[in-house]
Amino acid sequence: MSNKTPPNLRYTKDHEWILVDGSTGTIGITDHAQDALGDIVFVDAPKTGTPVQAGKVFGTVESVKAVSDLFSPASGEVTEVNDTLKDSPESVNEDPYGKGWLIKIKLSDKSEVDALMTADQYSAYAAQEHS
């Protein structure tokens, strides 16, 4: 399981991840989340410039059989949206920590990220939730 949980990311209880690089946070959903959803066919993400708030819904991801809200791991403003997902939403299944990233934000409070789970903590959390 740990190989599916990159150590350089932080994780939420709602199964999103965030990668911090300077003041930019890249956000996606975890391997566990994409696996639970099944074939992803639609990603609804906010436009560039939209403010997002930690713990609040910023969009939705839909598989063939279900809709799931996306919760932002941190607060800030959307600076980039992964437009390739419009034509290739399956990237979220195939490469949830790479090509399947969802949005980038300019972090307004980097300390919010420190409160999120580490990879080890998330692995344990996801395994427990699964059983």
């Binding site: 074939d39 066919v41 639609f42 839909e62 063939v64 059989k65 809709v67």
Partner: protein
């Protein structure tokens, strides 16, 4: 948590294959094995195998078997030949559906009813209450496993495993024969819109039959398929699902099942209500729709007839259609609005997304 769910004879096979399991009508069933879209496409282009042993089987026998079946259902079972099956509805007094089912005539005085898993006990009880003619009635769901082999390659691969005359077995007819030595009732029925076979066998033989079919299907690209693909396949094929399009508050006339309502066959439960509704006209009607805007309709979403007005209808099943690559749905709308081509809007999480009423079935298999 899962300990209280019922299991089919193939439960260990699903576990072995790593299926994702869900509670479906009180049964622990596979929803997918390795990708719903792949499974859906396998059935449209090659062949897929489903465990649908959760379906209920009710048997009616004896000199009054036909009389009981005729009393509780709206199709005309007297028209069935031995070896033939048809789609049917189990009716309530108000003309609404207790269930939908397939009625197989095994002998002049023996009917085999395949009903929805979640309704089996309720259906059996309803039939028992109405069995004033004392037909022999048995709730036999535990005596059968049911494997559905569906897809354009199904006939070819099954034909190599049985001496039963599949070539002359017409749609909605059935026969009996061994499949790789396992005695089966072989029916040309299904729920996917493809060429199809349903194999009823003893639960003790189900795992062996499953493994034989999967092995024999390898050269044809067979995939084990879960209830997720079963649902998207039946939706593309324009088939109703109990608890969604049809239930105890909708009539077969509202659900566009008119051709299965045989008012002329004589009295049956719900007949008077259906005749009245037929004379007065229905007020709401089941329609197919296709999203033209960017969004996916889902069960329970509201349907609007204009960009400003109140909700006028409701989505009963909505999903991306993996083969058609469109977002499609069934919905109830006011009958006067049920015109093909009409523009409507679906409320997708607070936003009205454009859609259009279209003919069903959404998908028809190409003629050979």
């Amino acid at each position: 948590m899962t300990a209280t769910l019922r299991q089919t004879a193939l439960h260990s096979v699903h576990k072995r294959l790593g299926a994702k399991m869900v509670d479906f009508g009180g049964w622990d069933m596979p929803v997918e094995y390795g990708g719903l879209i792949r499974e859906h496409m396998a059935v449209r282009t090659a062949v897929g195998l489903f465990d649908v042993s959760h379906m209920g089987e009710i048997e009616v026998r004896g000199p009054n078997a036909l009389a009981l079946v005729q009393k509780v259902t709206c199709n005309d079972a007297s028209k069935l030949n031995v070896g033939q099956a048809h789609y049917n509805c189990l009716m309530y007094e108000h003309g609404t559906l207790a269930d939908d089912l397939l009625t197989y005539r095994v002998a002049d005085d023996h009917f085999f009813l395949v009903v929805n898993a979640a309704n089996q006990d309720k259906d059996f009880e309803w039939m028992r209450e109405n069995n004033s003619m004392s037909a022999t009635l048995e709730n036999n769901g535990d005596r059968y496993s049911l494997l559905a082999l569906q897809g354009p390659k199904a006939a070819e691969m099954l034909g190599a495993l049985t001496s039963a005359p599949l070539g002359t077995l017409k749609y909605y007819w059935f026969t009996h024969g061994d499949v790789a030595g396992i005695p089966c009732r072989i029916a040309r029925t299904g729920y996917t819109g493809e060429d199809c076979f349903e194999l009823f066998c003893a639960p003790g033989a189900a795992e062996k039959l499953w493994d034989i079919l999967i092995d024999a299907g390898q050269p044809h690209g067979i995939l084990p398929c879960g209830l997720g693909a079963r649902n998207t396949l039946r939706l593309e094929a324009g088939m109703a699902l109990y608890g969604h399009e049809i239930d105890a508050s909708h009539t077969p006339l509202e659900a566009c099942l008119d051709r299965y309502v045989k008012l002329e066959k004589g009295d049956f439960i719900g007949r008077a209500a259906l005749e009245k509704q037929k004379n007065e006209g229905i007020t709401r009607k089941l329609v197919g729709l296709e999203m033209t805007g960017r969004g996916i309709a889902r069960d329970g979403y509201p349907v609007y007839l204009s960009e400003e007005g109140d909700a006028a209808g409701i989505i009963t099943s909505g999903s991306p259609a993996p083969f058609l690559k469109k977002n499609i749905a069934f919905a109830y709308v006011p009958a006067p609005a049920a015109e093909m081509g009409r523009a409507v809007w679906v409320g997708v999480r607070g936003q009205r997304v454009a859609a259009q009423l279209v003919a069903t079935p959404f998908y028809k298999r190409p003629k050979k």
